[in-house]
């Protein structure tokens, strides 16, 4: 066959392969979800959510774990977002381009790939031991913040880089200062990319278990933490612990907890995407 036909064939073949891969991915996801829901749906009810963990599977609930997860997320957001965006802004807009700054850029990108358990060890050394916060929610939140900081910084930088320089030029030419330009032109334009980065990083944080174990999250916390310095637990930890227990009831409980966790994740992402779209539309 001639070139034209060959190309057409390759085109069609590639399209087929792409579709199959996508379907495969979706299929696996569907199977996973189906299995989880099948296992755990019976126990998803208000009781489950509001009960404390217990040695008996029928009575075990995720109250502590949920509170822990939500508190942790809140604190992480408070710590990581301002610092991450601020650092990204500074590095991209204010820092002079030099060998040092290039080095910094590479290293921050590397940090995003460091295994999370290393962050756990870091958190253990600094927050738990050195600062003496102990195995508390505060330590956990700070550790998670460190973990997701590189992601937010890189996302912020990329989003800012994507703002056309012509817009900044226009702002300067009208007599705006650097900060005014950043505030009124650059940040609004890059908000989409920044929020996407935040979504990605929080989604990762919410599922982290290993670093939190190292820092001191407990598997069995039969009371609700009241202060920042209290011991805590999180949903992934609770799930992990229950799956290691022999009783069948715990397996179901774990399934239910996973459903809840997925629910929270989807909700969080949903809110973030909604916010992002809302801000984007305001600009258009």
């Amino acid at each position: 066959m001639n070139n034209l036909q060959k190309n057409r064939l390759i085109d069609a073949a590639f399209k087929m392969v792409g579709m199959l891969c996508t379907l495969l991915g979706i299929l696996i996801l569907v199977i996973l979800l189906y299995n989880i829901i099948r296992v755990g749906y019976t126990r998803v009810n208000w009781d489950f959510i509001s009960s404390l963990p217990s040695r008996k599977p029928e009575e075990a609930g995720i109250y502590t774990a949920i509170i822990g997860t939500l508190d942790l997320m809140l604190l992480t957001i408070i710590f990581a977002i301002p610092i991450g965006i601020g650092a990204g802004l500074y590095l991209e807009e204010y820092a002079k381009k030099s060998r040092l700054s290039t080095l910094l850029e590479i290293n921050i990108a590397n940090l995003a790939g460091v295994p999370s358990i290393i962050y756990g060890l870091l958190g253990l050394g600094i927050f738990v031991r050195f600062f003496g916060f102990g195995g508390s929610i505060l330590s956990g939140a700070l550790t998670l913040s460190l973990l997701i900081l590189p992601i937010i910084i890189v996302a912020t930088r990329e989003a800012i880089k994507a703002v056309p320089p012509s817009l900044k030029e226009a702002s300067f030419a009208l007599g705006a200062s650097k900060w005014q330009t950043l505030q009124k032109v650059v940040l609004p334009s890059s908000s989409g990319g920044i929020v996407t980065g935040i979504i990605l990083s929080l989604s990762r944080a919410i599922g982290e278990t290993a670093p939190l174990i190292v820092v001191g999250a407990m598997a069995y916390v039969p009371f609700v933490p009241h202060s920042l310095f209290d011991t805590f637990s999180v949903l992934p930890m609770q799930i992990f612990t229950w799956t290691t227990r022999p009783q069948a009831g715990f397996a179901i409980a774990a399934g239910a907890a996973i459903i809840i966790l997925l629910g929270i994740t989807f909700l969080m992402n949903g809110i973030a995407v909604y916010l992002r779209n809302k801000w984007q539309n305001k600009l258009q």
Partner: protein, 279 residues
């Protein structure tokens, strides 16, 4: 002798006026640009090799020359937009409305209220039409809503865009056509009420009809403003400018009334360029 006196007087005046005060309003409307011995380097590369020039008020001056001759660089000296380029360095004196703008104490933000700039590719902010035109005013901290509304309308009228957009100022600026966007950018500049407007190839990205509208606009604006325009289009230069400056490789080859440049230029290089023998 007269020159000596002039130079001495200039020195005395410069030394007696404190440089860090806000622009003297009375100087604002003399709107001239005076350049003495301007030289520019980007790192090791010398982009402008020593230029003197005097731009008169209420004139349109066009800068022509082949690519890379330094005309855009020279234009951007006037509102210090080159400051953002790595490795930029300049020597010489540039006086805008009587003030040396490269003295340390001059704030660029103040300078850019005197001198506005319109760019080659229309670059409206991704905001509404109103917000775009009001941007320069809000930057200055102006909060009076009535004042802002009035200035926005005035600027849009001056830019010949008011009729097109008056019914929906909240519409996104990006929904306008290319020619309209450029006129919006001009309105945005006019709202700040500068005395001098710089234009860097303002119509090269536009179709002939939009170009023609903007050229008409420039002609109207001449009454109130001093305009300097960089252009690749020699017919445009000959159509709309009073004075023309021909640049080549960082030097100013010739600066004269446009009609002289295009009927009988003094330098052979100028003639070679405008007759298309090179360039």
């Amino acid at each position: 002798m007269a020159k000596q006196i002039a130079i001495t007087m200039e020195t005395i005046i410069e030394q007696s006026l404190p440089m860090d005060e806000i622009v003297d309003k009375s100087l604002k409307k003399t709107h001239t640009i005076e350049v003495n011995g301007a030289k520019v380097w980007y790192g090791d590369f010398m982009a402008i090799k020593g230029i003197d020039m005097m731009i008169k008020p209420n004139t349109v001056t066009s800068f022509i020359g082949p690519s890379g001759c330094g005309k855009s660089t020279f234009l951007r000296l006037f509102n210090r937009m080159n400051d953002y380029v790595d490795g930029f360095r300049m020597e010489g004196k540039i006086k805008v409305n009587g003030r040396n703008i490269y003295k340390d104490k001059v704030h660029v933000e103040e300078l850019r209220k005197e001198i506005g700039m319109v760019f080659q590719k229309p670059n409206p902010f991704p905001k509404s039409i109103f917000e775009n035109v009001a941007y320069g005013l809000k930057i200055q901290g102006i909060k009076d809503k009535k004042l802002i509304n009035d200035r926005v309308e005035k600027a849009l009228r001056q830019a010949d865009l008011w009729e097109d957009v008056k019914d929906n100022l909240k519409k996104s600026a990006l929904a306008l056509s290319g020619g309209q966007q450029q006129r919006l950018c001009i309105a945005r500049t006019l709202a700040v009420e500068p005395s001098i407007i710089l234009m860097d190839e303002p119509t090269s990205a536009l179709d002939p009809i939009s170009t023609s509208k903007i050229e008409d606009l420039i002609f109207e604006l001449k009454e109130k403003y001093t305009i300097v325009i960089v252009t690749h289009n020699m017919q445009q230069a000959s159509r709309i400018s009073d004075y023309t400056a021909f640049f080549y490789l960082g030097n100013l080859i010739e600066f004269d009334k446009t009609k002289n440049i295009f009927t009988n230029p003094k330098q052979q290089q100028t003639e070679n360029y405008i007759t298309g023998r090179f360039g």
